[in-house]
Subunit: 137 residues, 4 copies
Amino acid sequence: MFTYETVVRLHHTDAAGTIYYARVFDLAHAAFEAFLDDIGHPLPSALAAHPVVLPIAHATADYRAPLRLNDPLRIELWVETLSRRSFELRYRFLRADGELAAGVRTIHVAVDSESGESTELPDKLAEAFGRRMAPGD
Amino acid sequence: MFTYETVVRLHHTDAAGTIYYARVFDLAHAAFEAFLDDIGHPLPSALAAHPVVLPIAHATADYRAPLRLNDPLRIELWVETLSRRSFELRYRFLRADGELAAGVRTIHVAVDSESGESTELPDKLAEAFGRRMAPGD
Amino acid sequence: MFTYETVVRLHHTDAAGTIYYARVFDLAHAAFEAFLDDIGHPLPSALAAHPVVLPIAHATADYRAPLRLNDPLRIELWVETLSRRSFELRYRFLRADGELAAGVRTIHVAVDSESGESTELPDKLAEAFGRRMAPGD
Amino acid sequence: MFTYETVVRLHHTDAAGTIYYARVFDLAHAAFEAFLDDIGHPLPSALAAHPVVLPIAHATADYRAPLRLNDPLRIELWVETLSRRSFELRYRFLRADGELAAGVRTIHVAVDSESGESTELPDKLAEAFGRRMAPGD
Protein backbone atom coordinates (compact mmCIF):
# COMPACT_ATOMS: atom_id res chain seq x y z
CA MET A 1 0.00 0.00 0.00
CA PHE A 2 1.06 3.55 -0.69
CA THR A 3 -0.10 6.60 1.23
CA TYR A 4 -0.42 10.11 -0.21
CA GLU A 5 -1.19 13.11 1.99
CA THR A 6 -2.81 16.25 0.65
CA VAL A 7 -5.30 18.99 1.57
CA VAL A 8 -8.55 20.03 -0.13
CA ARG A 9 -7.81 23.42 -1.71
CA LEU A 10 -10.12 26.07 -3.13
CA HIS A 11 -9.62 24.93 -6.73
CA HIS A 12 -10.95 21.50 -5.77
CA THR A 13 -14.25 22.90 -4.48
CA ASP A 14 -17.39 24.19 -6.20
CA ALA A 15 -20.31 26.48 -5.42
CA ALA A 16 -21.96 23.76 -3.32
CA GLY A 17 -19.15 24.34 -0.80
CA THR A 18 -17.57 20.89 -1.01
CA ILE A 19 -15.17 19.11 -3.35
CA TYR A 20 -16.26 18.99 -6.99
CA TYR A 21 -16.86 15.32 -7.80
CA ALA A 22 -14.38 15.09 -10.70
CA ARG A 23 -11.51 16.44 -8.57
CA VAL A 24 -11.22 13.14 -6.68
CA PHE A 25 -10.01 11.69 -9.99
CA ASP A 26 -7.36 14.42 -10.30
CA LEU A 27 -6.22 13.64 -6.75
CA ALA A 28 -6.30 9.87 -7.30
CA HIS A 29 -4.08 10.16 -10.37
CA ALA A 30 -1.68 12.50 -8.56
CA ALA A 31 -1.44 9.84 -5.83
CA PHE A 32 -0.78 7.20 -8.51
CA GLU A 33 2.00 9.37 -9.97
CA ALA A 34 3.56 9.78 -6.51
CA PHE A 35 3.33 5.99 -6.16
CA LEU A 36 5.15 5.53 -9.48
CA ASP A 37 7.85 7.94 -8.24
CA ASP A 38 8.08 5.90 -5.06
CA ILE A 39 8.61 2.56 -6.83
CA GLY A 40 11.21 4.11 -9.12
CA HIS A 41 9.11 4.20 -12.32
CA PRO A 42 7.94 7.80 -12.66
CA LEU A 43 5.76 8.71 -15.63
CA PRO A 44 8.16 9.90 -18.36
CA SER A 45 7.91 13.64 -18.88
CA ALA A 46 7.80 13.26 -22.69
CA LEU A 47 4.75 11.05 -22.41
CA ALA A 48 3.58 11.51 -25.99
CA ALA A 49 6.95 10.17 -27.22
CA HIS A 50 7.15 7.18 -24.85
CA PRO A 51 6.72 3.67 -26.37
CA VAL A 52 4.27 2.47 -23.70
CA VAL A 53 1.57 4.59 -22.11
CA LEU A 54 -0.89 3.57 -19.39
CA PRO A 55 -4.26 5.14 -20.22
CA ILE A 56 -7.29 4.52 -18.06
CA ALA A 57 -9.96 2.25 -19.54
CA HIS A 58 -12.37 2.44 -16.63
CA ALA A 59 -12.76 4.73 -13.62
CA THR A 60 -15.27 4.73 -10.83
CA ALA A 61 -15.83 6.66 -7.63
CA ASP A 62 -18.15 6.21 -4.66
CA TYR A 63 -18.72 9.29 -2.56
CA ARG A 64 -19.44 8.62 1.11
CA ALA A 65 -18.85 11.77 3.14
CA PRO A 66 -18.31 15.41 2.15
CA LEU A 67 -14.84 16.85 1.75
CA ARG A 68 -14.58 20.56 2.52
CA LEU A 69 -12.05 23.31 1.96
CA ASN A 70 -8.91 22.75 4.07
CA ASP A 71 -9.79 19.16 4.97
CA PRO A 72 -6.57 17.20 5.28
CA LEU A 73 -6.85 14.08 3.17
CA ARG A 74 -5.01 10.77 3.24
CA ILE A 75 -5.23 8.69 0.08
CA GLU A 76 -4.36 5.01 0.43
CA LEU A 77 -3.62 3.32 -2.86
CA TRP A 78 -2.78 -0.24 -3.85
CA VAL A 79 -2.64 -2.56 -6.86
CA GLU A 80 -5.77 -4.70 -6.62
CA THR A 81 -5.28 -6.79 -9.78
CA LEU A 82 -2.26 -7.24 -12.02
CA SER A 83 -2.52 -8.77 -15.50
CA ARG A 84 -0.08 -8.99 -18.42
CA ARG A 85 -1.66 -6.03 -20.20
CA SER A 86 -3.55 -4.16 -17.52
CA PHE A 87 -3.85 -3.46 -13.83
CA GLU A 88 -6.44 -2.20 -11.40
CA LEU A 89 -5.79 0.31 -8.67
CA ARG A 90 -7.92 1.01 -5.61
CA TYR A 91 -7.88 4.21 -3.60
CA ARG A 92 -9.39 5.07 -0.24
CA PHE A 93 -9.83 8.78 0.56
CA LEU A 94 -9.71 9.24 4.32
CA ARG A 95 -10.43 12.44 6.24
CA ALA A 96 -8.46 13.46 9.32
CA ASP A 97 -11.26 12.04 11.51
CA GLY A 98 -10.65 8.66 9.87
CA GLU A 99 -13.94 8.72 7.97
CA LEU A 100 -13.93 7.20 4.50
CA ALA A 101 -14.85 10.11 2.21
CA ALA A 102 -14.55 8.32 -1.12
CA GLY A 103 -13.43 5.12 -2.78
CA VAL A 104 -11.95 5.19 -6.26
CA ARG A 105 -11.03 2.46 -8.73
CA THR A 106 -9.08 2.86 -11.98
CA ILE A 107 -8.24 0.20 -14.57
CA HIS A 108 -5.20 1.00 -16.69
CA VAL A 109 -4.14 -0.72 -19.89
CA ALA A 110 -0.69 -0.76 -21.46
CA VAL A 111 -0.83 0.77 -24.93
CA ASP A 112 1.85 1.03 -27.61
CA SER A 113 1.88 4.76 -28.29
CA GLU A 114 2.92 4.27 -31.95
CA SER A 115 0.23 1.79 -32.96
CA GLY A 116 -2.38 2.67 -30.35
CA GLU A 117 -2.72 -1.09 -29.73
CA SER A 118 -2.78 -2.93 -26.40
CA THR A 119 0.66 -4.20 -25.40
CA GLU A 120 2.35 -5.93 -22.45
CA LEU A 121 3.28 -4.06 -19.32
CA PRO A 122 7.04 -3.47 -19.11
CA ASP A 123 8.52 -6.30 -16.97
CA LYS A 124 10.10 -4.01 -14.42
CA LEU A 125 6.87 -2.14 -13.86
CA ALA A 126 4.94 -5.41 -13.44
CA GLU A 127 7.54 -6.62 -10.93
CA ALA A 128 7.40 -3.37 -8.99
CA PHE A 129 3.60 -3.53 -8.94
CA GLY A 130 3.74 -7.16 -7.81
CA ARG A 131 5.56 -6.04 -4.70
CA ARG A 132 2.83 -3.50 -3.82
CA MET A 133 -0.31 -5.54 -4.26
CA ALA A 134 -2.12 -5.63 -0.97
CA PRO A 135 -3.66 -2.97 1.27
CA GLY A 136 -1.60 -4.41 4.12
CA ASP A 137 1.74 -4.98 2.34
CA MET B 1 -32.61 12.36 -24.49
CA PHE B 2 -30.67 15.58 -24.44
CA THR B 3 -27.77 16.45 -26.72
CA TYR B 4 -24.87 18.73 -25.79
CA GLU B 5 -22.27 19.81 -28.36
CA THR B 6 -18.76 20.86 -27.40
CA VAL B 7 -15.14 20.65 -28.55
CA VAL B 8 -12.06 19.18 -26.82
CA ARG B 9 -9.95 22.18 -25.83
CA LEU B 10 -6.34 22.42 -24.67
CA HIS B 11 -7.28 22.60 -21.00
CA HIS B 12 -9.00 19.20 -21.33
CA THR B 13 -5.84 17.49 -22.60
CA ASP B 14 -2.68 16.27 -20.87
CA ALA B 15 0.92 15.49 -21.79
CA ALA B 16 -0.13 12.16 -23.34
CA GLY B 17 -1.74 14.24 -26.10
CA THR B 18 -5.36 13.20 -25.49
CA ILE B 19 -8.12 14.16 -23.07
CA TYR B 20 -7.23 13.82 -19.37
CA TYR B 21 -9.49 11.10 -17.98
CA ALA B 22 -11.12 13.22 -15.26
CA ARG B 23 -12.21 15.91 -17.75
CA VAL B 24 -14.96 13.69 -19.14
CA PHE B 25 -16.62 14.12 -15.75
CA ASP B 26 -16.35 17.93 -16.03
CA LEU B 27 -17.92 17.71 -19.48
CA ALA B 28 -20.63 15.28 -18.35
CA HIS B 29 -21.68 17.59 -15.52
CA ALA B 30 -21.68 20.62 -17.84
CA ALA B 31 -23.99 18.63 -20.13
CA PHE B 32 -26.22 17.80 -17.15
CA GLU B 33 -26.38 21.50 -16.22
CA ALA B 34 -27.34 22.40 -19.79
CA PHE B 35 -30.02 19.68 -19.57
CA LEU B 36 -31.34 21.24 -16.33
CA ASP B 37 -31.47 24.62 -18.10
CA ASP B 38 -33.34 22.97 -20.95
CA ILE B 39 -36.04 21.43 -18.76
CA GLY B 40 -36.47 24.72 -16.89
CA HIS B 41 -34.79 23.72 -13.61
CA PRO B 42 -31.31 25.28 -13.74
CA LEU B 43 -28.98 24.70 -10.80
CA PRO B 44 -29.52 27.67 -8.46
CA SER B 45 -26.52 30.00 -8.48
CA ALA B 46 -26.49 30.24 -4.66
CA LEU B 47 -26.12 26.49 -4.42
CA ALA B 48 -24.75 26.48 -0.86
CA ALA B 49 -27.92 28.27 0.32
CA HIS B 50 -30.41 26.09 -1.58
CA PRO B 51 -32.62 23.71 0.47
CA VAL B 52 -32.08 20.70 -1.82
CA VAL B 53 -28.81 19.85 -3.52
CA LEU B 54 -28.09 16.96 -5.87
CA PRO B 55 -24.63 15.62 -5.06
CA ILE B 56 -23.21 12.64 -6.88
CA ALA B 57 -22.99 9.41 -4.91
CA HIS B 58 -21.45 7.32 -7.65
CA ALA B 59 -19.70 8.08 -10.92
CA THR B 60 -18.21 5.80 -13.51
CA ALA B 61 -16.61 6.16 -16.92
CA ASP B 62 -15.59 3.71 -19.62
CA TYR B 63 -13.08 5.00 -22.13
CA ARG B 64 -13.35 3.46 -25.59
CA ALA B 65 -11.53 5.65 -28.11
CA PRO B 66 -9.14 8.58 -27.71
CA LEU B 67 -10.36 12.16 -27.78
CA ARG B 68 -7.84 14.66 -29.13
CA LEU B 69 -7.45 18.42 -29.15
CA ASN B 70 -10.12 20.07 -31.35
CA ASP B 71 -12.24 16.93 -31.63
CA PRO B 72 -15.87 17.98 -31.85
CA LEU B 73 -17.85 16.06 -29.29
CA ARG B 74 -21.54 15.25 -28.98
CA ILE B 75 -22.72 14.19 -25.55
CA GLU B 76 -26.04 12.37 -25.40
CA LEU B 77 -27.58 12.30 -21.96
CA TRP B 78 -30.70 10.75 -20.49
CA VAL B 79 -32.31 9.77 -17.19
CA GLU B 80 -31.81 6.01 -16.90
CA THR B 81 -33.47 5.50 -13.50
CA LEU B 82 -35.66 7.76 -11.42
CA SER B 83 -36.40 7.09 -7.73
CA ARG B 84 -37.99 9.20 -4.99
CA ARG B 85 -34.63 10.25 -3.57
CA SER B 86 -32.15 9.65 -6.36
CA PHE B 87 -31.69 9.34 -10.10
CA GLU B 88 -29.18 7.88 -12.50
CA LEU B 89 -27.94 9.60 -15.62
CA ARG B 90 -26.21 8.02 -18.60
CA TYR B 91 -24.03 9.86 -21.06
CA ARG B 92 -22.59 8.78 -24.41
CA PHE B 93 -19.60 10.77 -25.73
CA LEU B 94 -19.60 10.60 -29.52
CA ARG B 95 -16.88 11.85 -31.84
CA ALA B 96 -17.64 13.54 -35.16
CA ASP B 97 -16.96 10.20 -36.93
CA GLY B 98 -19.78 8.69 -34.84
CA GLU B 99 -17.40 6.57 -32.76
CA LEU B 100 -18.29 6.11 -29.10
CA ALA B 101 -15.37 7.68 -27.22
CA ALA B 102 -16.67 7.22 -23.68
CA GLY B 103 -19.69 6.21 -21.65
CA VAL B 104 -20.39 7.87 -18.31
CA ARG B 105 -22.87 7.13 -15.54
CA THR B 106 -23.66 9.32 -12.52
CA ILE B 107 -26.01 8.60 -9.63
CA HIS B 108 -27.30 11.69 -7.86
CA VAL B 109 -29.06 11.84 -4.49
CA ALA B 110 -31.29 14.60 -3.20
CA VAL B 111 -29.83 16.00 0.03
CA ASP B 112 -31.25 18.56 2.45
CA SER B 113 -28.47 21.13 2.53
CA GLU B 114 -29.27 22.13 6.15
CA SER B 115 -29.24 18.67 7.70
CA GLY B 116 -27.03 16.92 5.17
CA GLU B 117 -29.61 14.10 5.14
CA SER B 118 -31.17 12.36 2.17
CA THR B 119 -34.47 13.93 1.13
CA GLU B 120 -37.07 13.61 -1.64
CA LEU B 121 -36.53 15.04 -5.08
CA PRO B 122 -38.62 18.18 -5.63
CA ASP B 123 -41.85 17.11 -7.41
CA LYS B 124 -41.37 19.38 -10.38
CA LEU B 125 -37.86 18.13 -10.99
CA ALA B 126 -39.02 14.51 -10.77
CA GLU B 127 -41.81 15.25 -13.25
CA ALA B 128 -39.46 16.97 -15.64
CA PHE B 129 -37.03 14.05 -15.40
CA GLY B 130 -39.88 11.61 -15.99
CA ARG B 131 -40.48 13.22 -19.34
CA ARG B 132 -36.84 12.72 -20.40
CA MET B 133 -36.21 9.13 -19.44
CA ALA B 134 -35.27 7.24 -22.55
CA PRO B 135 -32.45 7.52 -25.08
CA GLY B 136 -35.05 7.69 -27.80
CA ASP B 137 -37.60 10.04 -26.15
CA MET C 1 -12.99 40.83 -33.24
CA PHE C 2 -14.18 37.34 -32.43
CA THR C 3 -17.03 36.45 -30.11
CA TYR C 4 -17.28 33.26 -28.06
CA GLU C 5 -20.42 32.38 -26.12
CA THR C 6 -20.39 30.11 -23.09
CA VAL C 7 -21.99 29.60 -19.67
CA VAL C 8 -20.43 29.47 -16.20
CA ARG C 9 -20.70 25.84 -15.11
CA LEU C 10 -20.24 24.19 -11.73
CA HIS C 11 -16.68 23.11 -12.46
CA HIS C 12 -15.73 26.77 -12.99
CA THR C 13 -16.92 27.81 -9.52
CA ASP C 14 -15.43 27.44 -6.05
CA ALA C 15 -16.66 27.39 -2.44
CA ALA C 16 -16.99 31.20 -2.45
CA GLY C 17 -19.94 30.68 -4.81
CA THR C 18 -18.48 32.47 -7.84
CA ILE C 19 -16.05 31.62 -10.62
CA TYR C 20 -12.60 30.46 -9.45
CA TYR C 21 -10.15 33.12 -10.63
CA ALA C 22 -7.92 30.80 -12.70
CA ARG C 23 -10.89 29.51 -14.73
CA VAL C 24 -11.12 32.77 -16.69
CA PHE C 25 -7.78 31.75 -18.20
CA ASP C 26 -9.20 28.34 -19.20
CA LEU C 27 -12.14 30.11 -20.81
CA ALA C 28 -9.95 32.73 -22.51
CA HIS C 29 -7.78 30.04 -24.09
CA ALA C 30 -10.83 28.06 -25.21
CA ALA C 31 -12.06 31.28 -26.88
CA PHE C 32 -8.64 31.69 -28.53
CA GLU C 33 -8.82 28.10 -29.83
CA ALA C 34 -12.30 28.74 -31.25
CA PHE C 35 -10.88 31.89 -32.88
CA LEU C 36 -8.06 29.82 -34.44
CA ASP C 37 -10.68 27.39 -35.75
CA ASP C 38 -12.61 30.34 -37.16
CA ILE C 39 -9.66 31.80 -39.08
CA GLY C 40 -8.78 28.36 -40.45
CA HIS C 41 -5.67 27.70 -38.35
CA PRO C 42 -6.78 25.33 -35.58
CA LEU C 43 -4.20 24.22 -33.02
CA PRO C 44 -2.78 20.94 -34.37
CA SER C 45 -3.97 17.99 -32.33
CA ALA C 46 -0.44 16.49 -32.13
CA LEU C 47 0.84 19.67 -30.54
CA ALA C 48 3.98 18.13 -29.04
CA ALA C 49 5.08 17.06 -32.54
CA HIS C 50 4.30 20.36 -34.29
CA PRO C 51 7.28 22.49 -35.50
CA VAL C 52 5.91 25.78 -34.13
CA VAL C 53 4.04 26.14 -30.85
CA LEU C 54 2.54 29.31 -29.38
CA PRO C 55 3.16 29.25 -25.61
CA ILE C 56 2.06 32.10 -23.41
CA ALA C 57 4.85 34.30 -22.04
CA HIS C 58 2.62 36.63 -20.06
CA ALA C 59 -0.99 36.50 -18.84
CA THR C 60 -2.99 38.97 -16.84
CA ALA C 61 -6.58 39.28 -15.66
CA ASP C 62 -8.57 42.08 -14.05
CA TYR C 63 -11.71 41.00 -12.25
CA ARG C 64 -14.50 43.59 -12.20
CA ALA C 65 -17.79 41.91 -11.35
CA PRO C 66 -18.65 38.45 -10.03
CA LEU C 67 -19.55 35.61 -12.36
CA ARG C 68 -21.94 33.06 -10.86
CA LEU C 69 -23.13 29.58 -11.73
CA ASN C 70 -25.26 29.58 -14.90
CA ASP C 71 -24.28 33.12 -15.90
CA PRO C 72 -24.22 33.29 -19.68
CA LEU C 73 -20.93 34.77 -20.77
CA ARG C 74 -19.81 36.47 -23.97
CA ILE C 75 -16.06 36.64 -24.54
CA GLU C 76 -14.88 39.21 -27.09
CA LEU C 77 -11.37 38.58 -28.30
CA TRP C 78 -9.04 40.44 -30.65
CA VAL C 79 -5.38 40.68 -31.66
CA GLU C 80 -4.09 43.83 -29.96
CA THR C 81 -0.46 43.68 -31.16
CA LEU C 82 1.18 41.60 -33.84
CA SER C 83 4.98 41.21 -34.11
CA ARG C 84 7.19 38.88 -36.15
CA ARG C 85 7.72 36.52 -33.22
CA SER C 86 4.87 37.23 -30.86
CA PHE C 87 1.34 38.60 -30.53
CA GLU C 88 -0.89 39.96 -27.84
CA LEU C 89 -4.54 39.06 -27.41
CA ARG C 90 -7.18 40.96 -25.43
CA TYR C 91 -10.38 39.47 -24.10
CA ARG C 92 -13.45 41.09 -22.61
CA PHE C 93 -15.74 38.87 -20.50
CA LEU C 94 -19.27 40.26 -20.67
CA ARG C 95 -22.25 39.10 -18.64
CA ALA C 96 -25.77 38.88 -20.10
CA ASP C 97 -26.57 42.27 -18.48
CA GLY C 98 -23.69 43.76 -20.52
CA GLU C 99 -21.51 44.30 -17.46
CA LEU C 100 -17.78 43.79 -17.94
CA ALA C 101 -16.93 40.92 -15.59
CA ALA C 102 -13.25 40.55 -16.46
CA GLY C 103 -10.55 41.69 -18.85
CA VAL C 104 -7.78 39.30 -19.87
CA ARG C 105 -4.57 39.78 -21.79
CA THR C 106 -2.22 37.06 -23.09
CA ILE C 107 1.10 37.46 -24.89
CA HIS C 108 2.08 34.48 -27.01
CA VAL C 109 5.48 33.77 -28.53
CA ALA C 110 6.26 31.51 -31.47
CA VAL C 111 8.66 28.76 -30.36
CA ASP C 112 10.42 26.08 -32.40
CA SER C 113 9.32 22.93 -30.62
CA GLU C 114 12.57 21.08 -31.50
CA SER C 115 15.03 23.68 -30.24
CA GLY C 116 12.81 25.45 -27.72
CA GLU C 117 14.01 28.73 -29.25
CA SER C 118 11.94 31.72 -30.32
CA THR C 119 11.04 31.61 -34.00
CA GLU C 120 8.94 33.57 -36.50
CA LEU C 121 5.20 33.23 -36.66
CA PRO C 122 4.10 31.19 -39.69
CA ASP C 123 3.25 33.67 -42.49
CA LYS C 124 -0.29 32.45 -42.97
CA LEU C 125 -1.06 32.76 -39.29
CA ALA C 126 0.38 36.30 -39.19
CA GLU C 127 -1.73 37.24 -42.23
CA ALA C 128 -4.88 35.79 -40.69
CA PHE C 129 -4.17 37.64 -37.43
CA GLY C 130 -3.56 40.84 -39.37
CA ARG C 131 -7.10 40.65 -40.66
CA ARG C 132 -8.54 40.38 -37.12
CA MET C 133 -6.69 43.12 -35.30
CA ALA C 134 -9.23 45.57 -34.00
CA PRO C 135 -12.15 45.31 -31.57
CA GLY C 136 -14.33 46.84 -34.27
CA ASP C 137 -13.04 44.93 -37.35
CA MET D 1 8.56 34.50 2.98
CA PHE D 2 6.70 31.20 2.80
CA THR D 3 7.81 28.15 0.84
CA TYR D 4 5.47 25.57 -0.68
CA GLU D 5 6.79 22.37 -2.26
CA THR D 6 4.87 20.47 -4.90
CA VAL D 7 5.33 18.44 -8.09
CA VAL D 8 3.95 19.00 -11.60
CA ARG D 9 1.37 16.25 -12.10
CA LEU D 10 -0.38 14.98 -15.22
CA HIS D 11 -3.52 17.04 -14.59
CA HIS D 12 -1.40 20.23 -14.68
CA THR D 13 -0.07 19.48 -18.18
CA ASP D 14 -1.57 19.81 -21.65
CA ALA D 15 -1.05 18.34 -25.12
CA ALA D 16 1.99 20.58 -25.67
CA GLY D 17 3.76 18.41 -23.06
CA THR D 18 4.31 21.13 -20.44
CA ILE D 19 2.24 22.80 -17.73
CA TYR D 20 -1.00 24.42 -18.94
CA TYR D 21 -0.60 28.15 -18.34
CA ALA D 22 -3.65 28.59 -16.11
CA ARG D 23 -2.50 25.84 -13.71
CA VAL D 24 0.21 28.10 -12.25
CA PHE D 25 -2.69 30.13 -10.82
CA ASP D 26 -4.18 27.01 -9.23
CA LEU D 27 -0.80 26.23 -7.70
CA ALA D 28 -0.22 29.83 -6.57
CA HIS D 29 -3.55 29.91 -4.75
CA ALA D 30 -2.90 26.52 -3.15
CA ALA D 31 0.42 27.96 -1.89
CA PHE D 32 -1.45 31.01 -0.56
CA GLU D 33 -3.90 28.72 1.27
CA ALA D 34 -1.01 26.78 2.81
CA PHE D 35 0.48 30.15 3.85
CA LEU D 36 -2.83 31.10 5.52
CA ASP D 37 -2.78 27.76 7.36
CA ASP D 38 0.78 28.48 8.41
CA ILE D 39 0.01 31.91 9.90
CA GLY D 40 -3.02 30.53 11.71
CA HIS D 41 -5.74 32.08 9.53
CA PRO D 42 -6.93 29.29 7.22
CA LEU D 43 -9.65 30.07 4.70
CA PRO D 44 -12.94 29.18 6.41
CA SER D 45 -14.47 26.06 4.92
CA ALA D 46 -17.94 27.70 4.72
CA LEU D 47 -16.54 30.45 2.58
CA ALA D 48 -19.89 31.55 1.11
CA ALA D 49 -21.18 32.22 4.66
CA HIS D 50 -18.10 34.05 5.94
CA PRO D 51 -18.43 37.82 6.61
CA VAL D 52 -15.16 38.76 4.87
CA VAL D 53 -13.87 37.12 1.71
CA LEU D 54 -10.63 37.86 -0.12
CA PRO D 55 -11.33 37.71 -3.86
CA ILE D 56 -8.65 38.44 -6.40
CA ALA D 57 -8.97 41.74 -8.27
CA HIS D 58 -5.88 41.31 -10.42
CA ALA D 59 -3.66 38.38 -11.36
CA THR D 60 -0.62 38.22 -13.57
CA ALA D 61 1.93 35.58 -14.54
CA ASP D 62 5.22 35.70 -16.42
CA TYR D 63 6.40 32.41 -17.83
CA ARG D 64 10.17 32.02 -18.07
CA ALA D 65 11.08 28.35 -18.43
CA PRO D 66 8.99 25.26 -19.17
CA LEU D 67 7.65 23.07 -16.39
CA ARG D 68 7.27 19.43 -17.31
CA LEU D 69 5.53 16.39 -15.85
CA ASN D 70 7.18 15.28 -12.58
CA ASP D 71 9.21 18.48 -12.19
CA PRO D 72 9.56 19.19 -8.49
CA LEU D 73 8.53 22.78 -7.85
CA ARG D 74 9.26 25.19 -5.02
CA ILE D 75 6.92 28.15 -4.74
CA GLU D 76 8.20 31.10 -2.71
CA LEU D 77 5.48 33.48 -1.64
CA TRP D 78 5.44 36.78 0.24
CA VAL D 79 3.25 39.79 0.95
CA GLU D 80 4.60 42.54 -1.29
CA THR D 81 2.14 45.31 -0.33
CA LEU D 82 -0.32 45.57 2.52
CA SER D 83 -3.12 48.17 2.59
CA ARG D 84 -6.20 48.58 4.81
CA ARG D 85 -8.50 46.99 2.24
CA SER D 86 -6.21 44.99 -0.01
CA PHE D 87 -2.87 43.23 -0.30
CA GLU D 88 -0.55 42.07 -3.02
CA LEU D 89 1.20 38.70 -3.07
CA ARG D 90 4.22 37.71 -5.13
CA TYR D 91 5.18 34.15 -6.00
CA ARG D 92 8.33 32.72 -7.51
CA PHE D 93 8.09 29.25 -9.09
CA LEU D 94 11.49 27.56 -8.90
CA ARG D 95 12.48 24.28 -10.54
CA ALA D 96 14.76 21.78 -8.82
CA ASP D 97 17.69 23.15 -10.86
CA GLY D 98 17.03 26.56 -9.28
CA GLU D 99 15.76 28.09 -12.51
CA LEU D 100 12.90 30.58 -12.21
CA ALA D 101 10.06 28.98 -14.16
CA ALA D 102 7.39 31.60 -13.49
CA GLY D 103 6.58 34.68 -11.48
CA VAL D 104 3.03 35.33 -10.31
CA ARG D 105 1.36 38.32 -8.70
CA THR D 106 -2.14 38.46 -7.18
CA ILE D 107 -3.94 41.45 -5.67
CA HIS D 108 -6.66 40.55 -3.20
CA VAL D 109 -9.35 42.83 -1.82
CA ALA D 110 -11.35 42.37 1.37
CA VAL D 111 -15.05 42.19 0.54
CA ASP D 112 -18.07 42.03 2.82
CA SER D 113 -19.79 38.88 1.61
CA GLU D 114 -23.28 40.21 2.52
CA SER D 115 -23.09 43.55 0.73
CA GLY D 116 -20.46 42.69 -1.85
CA GLU D 117 -18.73 45.96 -0.92
CA SER D 118 -15.07 46.55 -0.18
CA THR D 119 -14.28 46.36 3.53
CA GLU D 120 -11.26 46.47 5.85
CA LEU D 121 -9.00 43.49 6.30
CA PRO D 122 -9.56 41.80 9.67
CA ASP D 123 -6.96 43.21 12.13
CA LYS D 124 -5.47 39.86 13.02
CA LEU D 125 -4.98 38.94 9.38
CA ALA D 126 -3.32 42.31 8.65
CA GLU D 127 -1.01 41.81 11.64
CA ALA D 128 -0.10 38.30 10.55
CA PHE D 129 0.57 39.53 7.01
CA GLY D 130 2.69 42.37 8.41
CA ARG D 131 5.01 39.83 9.92
CA ARG D 132 5.52 38.06 6.57
CA MET D 133 6.20 40.96 4.25
CA ALA D 134 9.62 40.50 2.76
CA PRO D 135 11.23 37.79 0.59
CA GLY D 136 14.01 37.57 3.16
CA ASP D 137 11.95 37.70 6.38
